[in-house]
Subunit: 212 residues, 2 copies
């Protein structure tokens, strides 16, 4: 399929469109114009139309967009029309929190396993699934065709673990470890650097206070 590359700026906005459209749909709204959406979302109508037209014409002149239809289409673009088998590496506080946070399951991200190298945790059940030793990880990924690995381990171990996962054919890594993973083309990485996020907040707080 030959398609022009969509910029990550556009991709980054899709989940937000998806969220607002979902809310409109839940309220029973049938149609929405780019201008109405613009008012709600605080982005320009022009940007909304440009963004959507990267993927095709979902609207109709004189009418606007059908909420249900557009919601579904954006869901498909985001790859939410299929299931992903997902494991969590690192059963610490954050790993367990993510395992228990089950809104992801609703979106098709299926929690299939959780691994740790702390023997104290082995066998502990989290959402019905036992924590396994990290030794079992590679075989488990191969046997169960795992798509996504969530990395919630210290940065010191992350690079090595990621390499193993990649060798076993993992397709995506949701990386909470505080380092930049080096991965071959074809393996997708999405970083959540919590401390970076907190630093941006502290920058904005202290900048605002110095301003006055």
């Amino acid at each position: 399929m030959e398609e022009k590359e969509i910029s990550q700026a556009v991709i980054g906005r899709l989940p937000r469109y998806f969220r607002y459209l979902g809310e409109l749909r839940d309220e029973g709204t049938e149609r929405v114009s780019s201008q109405e959406l613009s008012d709600i979302m605080q982005v320009t109508a022009s940007q909304i139309r440009q963004d959507l037209n990267n993927f095709g014409g979902f609207g109709q002149q004189g009418y606007g967009y059908n909420v249900e239809f557009l919601y579904e289409e954006i869901g498909k673009i985001l790859g939410l029309d299929r299931k992903y088998d997902l494991i969590i590496i690192g059963a610490g506080n954050l790993g367990q929190a993510l395992a228990n946070y089950m809104n992801f399951e609703r979106r098709g991200f299926l929690f299939r396993g959780i691994f740790d190298n702390n023997p104290v945790l082995y066998g502990k059940k989290i959402r019905g699934i036992e924590v396994q030793s990290m030794e079992c990880m590679e075989q488990y990924v191969l046997d169960n065709h795992i798509d996504i690995a969530v990395l919630t381990i210290p940065k010191s171990e992350a690079a090595e673990v990621a390499e193993k996962l990649i060798r076993c054919g993992i397709k995506g890594i949701w990386n909470f470890a505080h380092l930049d993973l080096k991965v071959p083309e074809g393996v997708q990485v999405e970083n959540v650097h919590l401390s970076d996020s907190l630093m941006k907040l502290s920058y904005n707080i202290s900048r605002f206070q110095n301003e006055k």
Copy 2:
């Protein structure tokens, strides 16, 4: 202090510079040129120099940048040279995980309280601090001059709680609830939308698979 506004694109890169410089420092590296940093970080040397010069000239022609000095300076820019009093609203899995994740404390973000409206949790100690009823939140913020509130509550409650916090003079909100908060100027919000992040990952996975 009259200064030209720095773009959020630049701010967003500062924590990453800070991290790499911290690593260089820990390795004992004394100086680094923009070209060397460029090789390590995979951004252009030009961008590094441009970014840094938004805040002043930290380098020296013919020499480069002193690692320790630049690290400290970026820390100051990010507002890490002071302390922040922080509370967590929502003592569910994620709230508890963040409370326990103590690297933040090292950076000056001091965990001062945690609140929930589930009575089962009241009195439970997390890192030595008892979970309190949400009823106590406002008084606590006022009495203890809390700077930052971490919102790890469902989106249905988030808007109302945020409003209360703002009335009590909170300076920043680290928002994990899946909605866009409306706040007056002067209150800083940093969003961590985990499900948006996961959707970006699924987009990239499914796009890559369709490409072939």
